[in-house]
């Protein structure tokens, strides 16, 4: 009976925190959305430079990290010390009290990290996380499939980027020439991937008002972009119903002619020696202002952690320290937010393969001139959840105007609890 009561009490009051402590050593629990082993090199370097602090990395699938953090930090779990935070969700997480403010690191961050990245981790004038990486989208194309269909390789210069209209025509031509699919998004059904299309079609971010809590998803830009998006599926150019994780392999295996994706996919493409691919800028709507997605993951400290000082040291090492930032960058896969690591990365990616020469300039251009951020709002997590479902619905054939009206009313209801 006492054992049972003991067990149930433990179950009721949460997990027994473990953080070392005995014997002077501290073990930090670092939770992230990247696979097991992703941060091994960076952690090893940190542990070497900081004897007495050990770091244990716990991986969660990216699509579930938010929910896991909500459950654990919402329950004031003291066993998490540091974690990766999805940058656009930082205002929402700050509002829920999940992020320890890091204002005393603001100066250092300003020196080591790009201004755009600092903006992405700042809310209400407070710094809530240290940026790890940034991102952009590139149009990868299969040289063999294009050659078979008699299509010229798209130019790499950003002032010669394809229009979506031209890309659609070329994608169809590629299919006529034998490609199974003409074009695919790396992240269909996600606001991250669609926002640039919406913005380049003249639409707004979807949130308006002083605090970005008033939904506004029915403007002409939203309608145009989403109708175009649906058209790609309807015309059979883009495959339907395939899980995200399976898409890069489809391109790597020569099934897709054009693939709009971020930089981490390059590692998957390079695994297939038979694939000859090229890199071009993201398309834009004819007559519209070019736009590309941006921002990525940052590192935060939990306000419930019992080792906040050590956790801050750890995240500073991965973000603000040049060596640490380079090690957490996974070679060319991630674009570092750290200025020094970025310079080193630029050389790495240009040298990573014949098809990648000049890519760093292309990416630098996009980051400085066409990158559009996601709206900063405490309601962003809810917004993204509703909008993602709506985009998915439209991709599956739902009526565009009906879905937008439905989404708008759902957002008004969901965001209503924040007031305005």
């Amino acid at each position: 009976m006492p054992l049972l009561i003991g067990l149930t009490t433990t179950a009721c009051f949460g997990p027994i925190p473990h953080g070392g402590g005995s014997g002077g050593g501290v073990t930090l629990q670092f939770v992230g959305a990247q696979p097991d082993g992703y941060f091994d090199k960076a952690i090893a370097a940190f542990e070497k430079a900081n004897p007495g602090i050990k770091v244990k990395y716990v991986s969660n699938p990216a699509s579930q990290l938010s929910q896991v953090l909500q459950a654990r930090l919402g329950g004031k779990d003291s066993s998490i010390d540091a974690f990766t935070a999805d940058e656009p969700k930082i205002p929402s997480m700050a509002d829920r009290g999940f992020l320890l403010p890091l204002d005393d690191l603001k100066d250092e961050a300003g020196k080591q990290v790009s201004a755009e990245a600092v903006r992405a981790t700042t809310f209400d004038n407070k710094l809530y996380a240290l940026p790890l990486w940034t991102s952009t989208a590139l149009l990868y194309y299969n040289k063999d499939l294009l050659k078979k269909a008699g299509i010229a390789d798209p130019a790499k210069a950003t002032d010669q980027r394809l229009s979506w209209e031209q890309l659609t025509a070329d994608a169809k031509k590629a299919q006529a020439g034998g490609a199974q699919y003409g074009f695919a998004f790396e992240q269909p059904g996600r606001y991250y991937q669609l926002e640039p299309l919406i913005r380049s079609a003249g639409g707004g971010t979807g949130l308006s008002g002083a605090k970005n809590l008033t939904p506004a998803i029915q403007d002409r830009g939203w309608k145009k972009a989403l109708t175009f998006y649906q058209g790609l599926f309807k015309k059979g150019i883009t495959p339907k119903g395939i899980q995200y994780t399976q898409l890069p392999s489809l391109f790597a295996n020569g099934k897709i002619a054009y693939f709009l994706a971020n930089t981490p996919s390059i590692a998957i493409f390079q695994k297939n020696p038979k694939l000859k691919f090229g890199v071009a800028p993201s398309p834009t709507f004819a007559g519209g202002k070019p736009a590309t997605p941006t921002d990525s993951w940052a590192l935060a400290v939990s306000p419930y952690s019992r080792h906040q000082a050590e956790a801050r040291k750890f995240i500073s090492f991965l973000s603000l320290n040049e060596a640490g930032a380079a090690l957490s960058g996974q070679d060319i896969a991630r674009i570092p937010a750290n200025k020094h690591a970025y310079a080193a990365w630029s050389q790495l990616i240009d040298a990573a393969g014949p098809e990648l020469a000049g890519t760093s300039k292309l990416i630098a251009d996009e980051l400085s001139r066409t990158a559009v951020k996601r709206p900063s709002s405490i309601g962003y997590t809810d917004f993204e959840s509703v909008v993602n479902k709506m985009i998915d619905n439209i991709g599956n054939g739902g009526d565009v105007n009906g879905s937008l009206t439905d989404g708008q009313s759902q957002l008004v209801n969901t965001l209503g609890r924040f007031g305005t």
């Binding site: 149930t8 179950a11 009721c12 929910q67 459950a71 998915d392 599956n396 054939g397």
Partner: protein, 300 residues
């Protein structure tokens, strides 16, 4: 062994009047000790969390019933109630009839009947997420099921990307997982029917169908009621296939209520509303189960 001293006439008459055994205290204590752990577990793992949920649902900063107002006004919740009730009405008869048919089939003298039972039961031993991923691949528009349909000359189906086929797809998935499990209970129930009753029916000239409906089925009422109630509750709580494959879509067609609660709690972080919705689900389940008990009395 000591001889027990017989109690005085009066006390021994009292137990005899109430018809209880002589050692009252001993039996009660034994019962308490054996049921105790289970009762404590029910208290801590079921009743306390349930009261916690009700308390949380009433403690929204905007007022005691604000959470309930929010939930009822939400189009996603309204869709989830509709879709969950639709799901319930379709999946339960389907699963129970299939489980019953399989149970009857697999209590006949068939070769390798043990092997068939094991194979049919096996999916129930897999984690639901694994089954969902397997069916996710099968249902891919460019996947094996469409390949088979193509080979048979039938048109290509959208499956989970269609708002009309997604819910039936989930029904097939959860049935593949669960039917074997419920079948086991019905096999046990069928085996409990005394052979003489069936013999007697045969002698009286009843054919197999008549025997089934007028002899077998009435004898199966108790296990059937158990399977009906337990299956209904399990189906109200379906979550893993939706989370893994459809995220409630397309067009909210698979937005089952457990998934809606999960999203409200862990995506929106709106705990009072999620608790309110949990309590509403509890009331719906209690209502449905009471109706089932009324329609299928376990005692004749």
């Amino acid at each position: 062994m000591t001889t027990s001293i017989k109690p005085a006439a009066k006390p021994s008459a009292a137990p005899a009047r109430r018809g209880r055994p002589a050692k009252i205290g001993g039996t009660r204590l034994a019962v308490l000790l054996m049921l105790g752990p289970a009762l404590v577990a029910i208290l801590f793992f079921r009743l306390v969390p349930a009261f916690e949920a009700i308390r949380t649902s009433l403690s929204d900063p905007q007022g005691p019933f604000a959470a309930y107002d929010r939930v009822f006004a939400d189009p996603a919740f309204q869709a989830s109630v509709r879709q969950t009730l639709l799901f319930t009405v379709l999946v339960n008869p389907f699963q129970i009839m299939l489980a019953l048919a399989l149970a009857v089939l697999l209590t006949q003298r068939l070769p390798l009947v043990g092997l068939w039972r094991t194979l049919i039961f096996l999916p129930a031993a897999l984690p639901q997420v694994v089954s969902a991923i397997i069916w996710g691949v099968l249902f891919r528009p460019d996947g094996p099921l469409n390949a088979v349909l193509n080979a048979l000359g039938l048109p290509h189906q959208p499956f989970l990307t269609s708002k009309f086929q997604a819910l039936p797809g989930i029904i097939i998935l959860v049935s593949w997982v669960g039917v074997g499990y419920w079948m086991m209970f019905l096999i046990a129930g069928l085996k409990d029917i005394p052979g003489d009753t069936l013999e007697a029916a045969k002698i009286d000239g009843a054919g197999p169908l008549r025997t089934f409906f007028q002899v077998t089925l009435p004898q199966l009422k108790r296990p059937l009621l158990f399977v009906l109630v337990a299956d209904t509750i399990a189906n109200f709580l379906v979550f893993a296939p939706v989370e893994t494959l459809t995220a409630g879509g397309p067009d909210r067609s698979t937005n089952l209520i457990m998934y809606d609660i999960y999203e409200r709690a862990y995506v929106a972080g709106d705990l009072p509303a999620a608790s309110a919705e949990t309590f509403i689900l509890l009331c719906i389940i209690l209502a449905v189960v009471s109706i089932q008990f009324k329609l299928l009395p376990s005692e004749d």
